[in-house]
Amino acid sequence: MDTVDIRHRVEQLQIDYAYCIDSGHFEDWPEFFTDECVYRIISRDSYEQGHESGFYYCRSKNMLRDRVLALRETTIYEPQRYRHVIGGTRILDSGDKRCRAESNLIVVRTLQAGEMSIFAAGAYLDTITFEPETPKFIEKVVVTDSPQIDMLLAGPL
């Protein structure tokens, strides 16, 4: 693959990923990951200090599925929507089989009464595999610039 091809595939993955979450299709969200994967949401301050614990820590696709199970069955919160804007992707260490990529991320959260806020800003630190055909995340670390969460963080970022 040439660099244009890699960039295209990574960006398409990000677009599909954002669409999945923003449209509320949480059941499809784990399918963006390999069976053995790591998904974390952690503040930049904690990430830079090397802390283990953040807001989310899943270390298998099944743990992602369990998050979705909890969101659907046991979690109670007001209806709300996320809108992801992902951009400024930098491709790092690319090869035919995998690459690392870092992207900027802004998530606007809209509550049912209409209140909108910039809920999260930060970066995706991704490791992506191109095998098999469909690119998937081996690791996705969501590093949030703010250490603070407003009220609650229900759905994934």
């Binding site: 283990e52 099944n62 998050r67 979690t75």
Partner: protein, 415 residues
Amino acid sequence: MDRKPSAIETGWPEEGLTRVPYDVFDSGEIFEREQERLFRGPTWNYLGLECEIPEPGDYKLNFIGTTPIIVCRNGEGEVRAFVNRCTHRGSLLCFRNRGNEKVFTCVYHNWSFDLDGNLKGIAFRRGVNGQGGMPKDFDEEKHGLEAVRVTTRGGVVFGTFSDDTPDLEEYLGPQMTGFIDRMFNRPLRVMGHYSHRLRNNWKLVMENVRDPYHASILHLFFGSFGLSRHTMEGAALLDDSAWHHIVYTKRATDDISGSEYEGGKLKSMKSNLSLADPTLLDEWQEFDDGITNMVQTVFPAVTFQQITNCLGVRHLVPKGPDEAEMIWTLFGYEDDEDWQREIRRTQANLVGPAGLISLEDGAVTNFVQRAIRGREGHEASVVELGGDAVESSANRVTEATVRGFWKGYRDVMGL
């Protein structure tokens, strides 16, 4: 708009601790009185963990109520705390959340203070060419930083503004002190740190934390996966003053047959659910007493928690009558092995603003804040589960622990 008289003028409802006037959750007047009587009064307030400031000169910032505080380690290795306000013109002295300094120098006019809070330097103290400067009789000794009285136990740092606050051990009583010693029994290691902005009065959070009634009802995950149910062995404890509380449960000690948990009678029980990756709930028995869930508060505003092996501090900082910040510190021990650290970080999924068993708390306390608006008279909440008792019980279908908070509150606030 006419201002309604608050509970300061009208008094507490005659029913006593089983009623809480909603005024206390949104009155600006009451909020101001809390700062003076509660947070600057005879209470021990959480300031941090000693492991966060291990070396001389290390400091971190925190708050007691709304007052900004510097917590540091002085040259002799002792923990000190001061109001983070330059005694010259009132600027924040430190504005980075943590760091290491030999002296604290205010950026505004370079007044500097040593690690014991003494004023050590004033820029242009003697003026320039004999002109200007401070008066010759200006007394530096009277212009040190406002000190906070500090005590530590098991590496936990508490501070108080009042000389009337008894020693921490007397303040807590033997049982509560024993539980501090139980968890803070050896050197700690911080594993995570974050903040949770709550759009509600801080006391709604303290009620929530001290309320074992809601735990397995609101938090469906809790009951569904058997983490905590009222049918398990446990206790709701109060010290003699009732200011402080502990609720604990011992998992795997219950039989739900014949209870409301059986057969889906309680909405909170979804016994048909199972985890795709049950290692989420991997655990080991950390304490010999068999306790798997333990929540302890030290009045007024800090909580220590053990959710199986996820250990943490939740420090509540009031930001206004209808806003608060909960600052979380998750920790393990220095001697943890890698597998133990991995279990702790995995269980951290259960807690915090994204926590599988706590996410709803940020919603429900805000629901109260929104619902009490527009009330007509002096309405009050009902805190009557378990009658009007303010005492320990093995039974956790009680709000005695919530009433204990209000007892402490009224004792100090004069309400």
